[in-house]
């Protein structure tokens, strides 16, 4: 189908662009690291309370990092004026969104993977046994963040004060993801770990709702 081939082409372009310079990945990873370190200074690391806050802090760090990471998503096209050529290159404008969305999810997951070992070390939490379930939560949460982030990035790129506007628009939208992901991650990393399937299902629902909305309305974000 044209959508898939278009998306595949655009996705490889996104990935190639990023992996050539790797600037987005490196800066975002370092940023999450800095945020985690700052959280340690703000709280009292190593204590039992710090362990309780750790999952929430992890997801906060991911949220902050994403609101930086998605700045360049559509801004890059605007600056180089490549958006019109992109639109001409595809038959379905949703392909542009889908490609960026998948790329953003991958970048987010990569930075999370890079940062997880540090998180485990800083907060003295063993992640190995819980890795499958944790990966699922990270995946569903990251997809939700990426869907909303890509949509908002398209909006903020066309407005003034976009650096401030993107987090302003994005973070309230992502409240459900923060709440549920933090809670599910928390119960996963607990002394007696429990997999909250209802929470994982909820994250899935969030992803589906916003993906559907993006699919229906995506073409309008990029109108001339």
């Amino acid at each position: 189908m044209a959508l898939f081939s278009n998306t595949a082409t655009l996705l490889s372009k996104e990935l190639r662009t990023e992996f050539r310079s790797r600037e987005l990945l490196t800066t975002t990873s370092v940023f999450i690291l800095i945020v985690l370190v700052l959280f340690s200074f703000a709280t009292n690391p190593g204590t039992e309370e710090a362990r309780q806050f750790a999952p929430g802090l992890l997801w906060l760090a991911i949220l902050f990092a994403s609101s930086l990471m998605f700045q360049s998503c559509f801004l890059r096209e605007q600056v180089n004026d490549t958006l019109s050529s992109l639109r001409l290159a595809v038959s379905d404008p949703f392909a542009i969104f889908l490609a960026k969305l998948i790329a953003n999810t991958l970048f987010l997951l990569l930075t999370e993977a890079l940062m997880l070992p540090f998180f485990a070390i800083f907060y003295n939490i063993s992640l190995w046994s819980k890795l499958p379930a944790l990966s699922l939560v990270l995946l569903l949460g990251s997809v939700g963040i990426a869907v909303a982030g890509t949509a908002i990035s398209a909006i903020s790129a066309q407005a003034r004060m976009r650096e401030l506007l993107l987090p302003l628009l994005l973070l309230p939208l992502l409240t459900p993801v923060l709440v549920v992901s933090a809670t599910v991650t928390g119960s996963l990393l607990d002394r007696d770990p429990v997999v909250q399937w209802k929470g994982i299902a909820f994250l899935g629902v969030f992803d589906v709702v916003f993906l559907t909305a993006l699919w229906i309305f995506g073409q309008y974000f990029l109108e001339e």
Binding site: Q158, P176, T183, F210
Partner: protein, 225 residues
């Protein structure tokens, strides 16, 4: 014009009637006493505000679909009126809560989602000020408005299912069940009154938006001369 004045007069009369009902017809609540009378104004405003935001959502959808300016005007109008309502709800709630339950605020599902709703529509209005071109502004804010409205039930349920601790004080009118019949009548009268008053505000604000557009047109004509 006369229809607008009539609406304003009717709304004012109804507000006075509601105030009378709130203080003289509704019986005093047994446990909370006089302070419970805030509930009629507070909860009715909340319901009206939510209805206004729903109209905003519909206006946003209609704009994206039909691209007629009037839907954009209706959208921004409802966003402002709704925001006024929710601001009042967020202020009168704590005024009521503090003497009764000893706390100004709690992070239960209703309060949190109301606050997030407030933040989202403040962002909606802020977004509009940051886009100059009217067509683009209308489209992008309508799209954001749609996403924002879809998000609110998700916020509500995420808090309700994963953040409710011990029985939190029912601050915002969960008293629909087991409400005294007179109180119920007074409450629903308030709901009607607040809807009519919001309708009046929407009409006035919509006229303002249309006027703004007329001024823009005239200014552009004058520049051409």
């Amino acid at each position: 014009m006369t229809k607008r004045i009539l609406l304003g007069v009717v709304a004012t009369a109804l507000i006075i009637a509601a105030a009378y009902a709130n203080f003289y017809i509704a019986p005093t609540e047994r446990t909370m006493g006089v302070i419970q009378r805030i509930f009629y104004f507070h909860a009715a405003t909340a319901w009206a505000g939510e209805m206004v935001f729903f109209v905003c959502f519909v206006a946003n959808l209609l704009y994206v679909w039909k691209r007629e300016q009037k839907y954009d005007w209706l959208g921004v109008t409802c966003a402002e009126v709704g925001l006024a309502c929710i601001t009042i709800v967020l202020i009168t709630g704590p005024i009521w809560a503090k003497p009764v339950w000893g706390i100004y605020w709690t992070w239960d599902a209703r309060l949190t989602s109301t606050f997030v709703l407030w933040l989202l529509y403040v962002s909606y209005l802020l977004l509009r000020t940051l886009i100059e071109e009217p067509g683009r502004r209308a489209l992008l804010s309508a799209l954001f408005g749609i996403f924002a409205f879809l998000d609110v039930p998700l916020v509500f349920f995420s808090i309700r299912w994963w953040r409710t601790q011990h029985p939190a004080p029912v601050i915002m009118g969960g008293q629909g069940s087991g409400l005294d019949p007179t109180m119920k009548k007074v409450f629903f009268f308030n709901v009607l009154v607040m809807h009519i008053f919001c309708l009046f505000l929407i009409v006035e604000r919509y006229v303002l938006e249309k006027l703004r557009h007329d001024v823009d047109l005239l200014q552009r004509e004058a520049e051409v001369q």
